[in-house]
């Protein structure tokens, strides 16, 4: 009996526990799953958890090394120090070692650790990636100055998605775009005007473009025949969309209130017409911050030459006390007959004196039906005449309206506003007008 026990113990010391031997080998199903499934399972974990699986058993030692997506963020690299040098050393160490142990193609690389400042080590990693066939590259530098991207980034011709935050782009002179780039997301970046234009025009397959808080260029000249999604927020002087006939979703925010001298805008085409000239297929449009002012500069027609028949969602940030903006808003509204959802947000900070406001013409009430409009949201209003005119106009021309939500800017005058709202006639018998309390 002793010998028997001894045997068991002996094997226990050297080999995996043998009891119950057969059952265990049978039930260890997960280790036998094929590599691509294992990659998929491990890719649902943070990189840290995935690397930790290497100590589970001998079969698991190198299961993680074929992960095609590598994400280095605060979840995968947990630090407890505040010393910048230590932090940097640790992050650099971990990334170096993961890259060194990794096997196979890297399809996605994301570096977005909140404590990491731009460092030359990043150059080294980008060089490493450029030798492979990285498809998605996300780099977010949360601390420190704009990080200048190395030239090796610009030779990653397999890139499909590029996302940069707090970076400086200065591609080499020979750079001729990313030939299969589909999605570009640049936020808090600096690049020159010509670099920007060249980048956009030399990425022929570009479908999504996001630009936020950019420096170094002020003219948004976008020539992108395949563009579908365009999201901009920043300070610019003009927008020129060229050859963007598929553009379906646009969100533009002009953060600076530039005064537009009407005399300066030359020619007969104001910004409104110019902007919509190449947007026949637009479906969703958000006009944010001061962009409506930009659109209102120059000659604003009664309605656009070609109506936006596919536009179903429109959101406008508007100063109801500004004549030009009202005209521009009316022009827009008259030009989207199939709109389903409308949002009008009042810009609160402007207290311009109420000049002669644009009147909504009687004929509008007859010739501008919103036959598809179901949902309207109006916020930040104070009960002024103009605002009520707009609401009246919308209610009268929306036969299928389901819900209109109204949220005033402040409690002052809210009661008056409500009184006026009650009086308004509604074309739709199903319309609900919902009053929301203003935010504190």
């Amino acid at each position: 009996m002793n010998c028997f026990l001894w045997f068991i113990v002996f094997s226990k010391r050297k080999e995996p526990p043998m009891f119950p031997f057969n059952a265990e080998m049978e039930t260890d199903k997960i280790s036998k799953l094929p590599g691509h499934i294992m990659d998929r399972i491990l890719s649902h974990l943070s990189l840290r958890d995935a690397v930790r699986t290497s100590v589970l058993s001998s079969r698991w030692r190198y299961k993680w090394v074929t992960l095609p997506h590598l994400v280095f963020d605060n979840q995968s690299v947990v630090l407890s120090s505040q010393d910048q040098t230590l932090i940097k050393n640790r992050i650099v160490n971990i990334i170096d070692h993961v890259l060194l142990l990794h096997v196979g193609p890297i399809h996605k690389f994301k570096l977005s650790h909140r404590e990491l400042q731009g460092a030359s080590d990043i150059d080294r990693w980008i060089l490493f990636l450029s030798r492979g066939s990285v498809k998605e590259f996300v780099l977010e530098i949360w601390k420190g100055l704009r990080y200048k991207l190395p030239s090796s980034l610009f030779i990653c011709q397999k890139l499909i998605h590029l996302e940069l935050f707090n970076c400086l782009l200065k591609p080499p002179p020979k750079f001729d775009g990313f030939k299969i780039l589909n999605s570009l997301d640049l936020q808090h970046i600096t690049m020159d005007q010509d670099v920007f234009e060249h980048m956009i025009s030399s990425c022929p397959l570009l479908e999504r473009l996001t630009l936020m808080n950019f420096d170094g260029f002020i003219h948004l000249n976008i020539c992108a025949p395949n563009l579908l999604f365009f999201d901009v927020g920043g300070v610019f002087e003009n927008v020129s969309l060229e050859n963007t006939f598929h553009l379906a979703i646009v969100s533009i925010g002009l953060y600076a209130n530039a005064g537009y001298d009407q005399n300066v805008i030359l020619g007969n085409t104001g910004n409104m017409i110019k902007f919509f000239a190449h947007l026949p297929r637009i479906q969703r449009l958000e006009v944010q911050c001061f962009f409506l002012k930009y659109l209102a500069a120059g000659k604003v027609p009664g309605r656009l030459p070609t109506p936006c028949i596919e536009l179903n969602y429109l959101s406008i940030r508007i100063n109801f006390n500004d004549v030009e903006e009202n005209l521009a808003a009316l022009c827009l509204l008259r030009s989207c007959p199939n709109i389903q959802e409308l949002e009008m947000l009042a810009r609160p900070e402007e207290q311009t004196s109420v000049r002669a406001v644009a009147n909504i013409l009687e004929e509008d009430y007859l010739s501008c039906p919103f036959n598809q409009l179901q949902l309207v949201k109006i916020a930040g209003i104070s009960g002024g005449r103009q605002e009520l005119d707009f609401i009246n106009f919308l209610l009268a021309n929306s036969p299928v309206l389901e819900r209109m939500t109204i949220k005033p800017a402040a409690l002052d005058g809210a009661l008056e506003l409500l009184k006026e709202l009650l009086r308004l006639r509604r074309a739709s018998v199903r319309a609900e007008i919902i009053y929301l309390d203003p935010e504190r």
Partner: protein, 360 residues
């Protein structure tokens, strides 16, 4: 007649697809349910098979009848177009409440049938079972054999640290764990042969290293590179471990570098060959100030390790949690602050893991 309206049965104009699993059994399945699987759909459209029992579609080997039943349940629910997202989600959540064995088989089978949404669902479920757990827990959940040696467990992760102190600490922890494990085993069995064997092997090692019991470390230091490569002996036993200076008495006297290097070296001599290689290199690079710091830290940890192990580790880790920002200062005056459990628990497995903490 007595069955009432049910008596008149209209023959349902349903078409069926015939499927054959690897074990030979054949089933018939409603067409719309079976066609939800891309692989079956393709087979039907390209080869025209599946219309009768003789021409049943052979399913891939990874699909056994029980799992096929589960997959068909999934397909049957999801192929109905009118379901809301919420309904589908609820169904999915209930559906994957299976034991790990079934989940793995299901993942594998769904993959071979190219049923991508089901593969995603099951992969996510399996990932959830791995996420945030300690290796012991994961091994238990999936019945994985614990067949890596201690140094193998440290090896891939060892490179993740650049701090020699952390390496030292890892070794100390690993050794302590081994010692505990050995002690456990020793309690149950009273076999001496094992110990004798290893002890004699280690004696042999020390002989090769050219020293007696205590100074084997010193010599080993000098010959470090050459000798360690030759070694691939089994691991140290607990008896040898006691030879090392984890006793309070010895370690108290830490001011002299010589003691330290002896400790370092003997630690490495006792420990496995592969890691020693690095030790030697590190020792050479340490300047005396650093050595003194390490001395102190070693003493600190030796004291800790001598207390009860698991509770202590838990304390250290939870302290690490509360005082997240206790840095290790690298300055020369030796004002070493406490090394929190955080640093170590990060990418190492030598300590029981708690849920990963996020940096601020």
């Amino acid at each position: 007649m007595s069955e009432g309206p049910m008596a008149i049965v209209k023959p349902e104009m349903k078409s069926y697809i015939w499927l054959q699993t690897a074990d030979g059994s054949i089933q018939q399945v409603e067409e719309e349910v079976a066609m939800f699987c891309p692989m079956i759909c393709r087979e039907v459209l390209q080869t025209g098979m599946g219309s009768s029992k003789n021409y049943a579609i052979s399913l891939p080997q990874r699909v056994n009848p029980a799992i096929l039943g589960l997959i068909l349940d999934y397909c049957r629910f999801h192929q109905v177009p009118g379901r809301s997202n919420k309904e589908r989600k609820t169904f999915d959540e209930k559906f994957i409440r299976l034991d790990t064995k079934k989940l793995c088989e299901l993942t594998s089978a769904a993959d071979s049938l190219q049923l991508r949404p089901l593969v995603d669902l099951t992969s996510r479920a399996l990932a959830r079972m791995i996420e945030g757990k300690t290796p012991e827990e994961i091994r238990e959940t999936f019945h994985l054999p614990d067949d890596l040696t201690e140094e193998e467990k440290l090896e891939p992760l060892r490179n993740m640290t650049d701090d020699p102190r952390i390496r030292l600490l890892n070794r100390l922890y690993a050794r302590k764990r081994k010692e505990l494990k050995d002690r456990e085993k020793m309690k149950n069995i009273e076999i001496e042969e094992e110990h004798v064997d290893e002890r004699s092997v280690d004696d042999l090692l020390s002989y090769i290293n050219g020293g007696d019991g205590d100074s084997k470390g010193g010599r080993a230091n000098k010959n470090k590179k050459k000798n360690r490569r030759k070694k691939d002996q089994p691991r140290n036993s607990s008896s040898n471990y006691e030879n090392g200076n984890h006793k309070n008495g010895e370690v108290d006297d830490v001011s002299s570098p010589s003691k330290f290097s002896k400790f370092q070296a003997s630690a490495s001599a006792i420990f496995s060959p592969k890691l020693d290689f690095d030790d030697g290199d590190i020792d050479d690079e340490l300047d005396p100030a650093m050595k003194e710091e390490l001395d102190r830290e070693v003493e600190d940890f030796a004291r800790r390790l001598n207390s009860v192990w698991p509770e202590r580790m838990h304390d250290i880790l939870s302290l690490g949690q509360e005082r997240r920002l206790a840095p290790i200062s690298m300055n020369g005056n030796g004002s070493l602050q406490r090394c929190t459990g955080d640093e170590l628990a990060d990418w190492q497995f030598t300590t029981p893991l708690t849920h990963p903490r996020r940096a601020k």
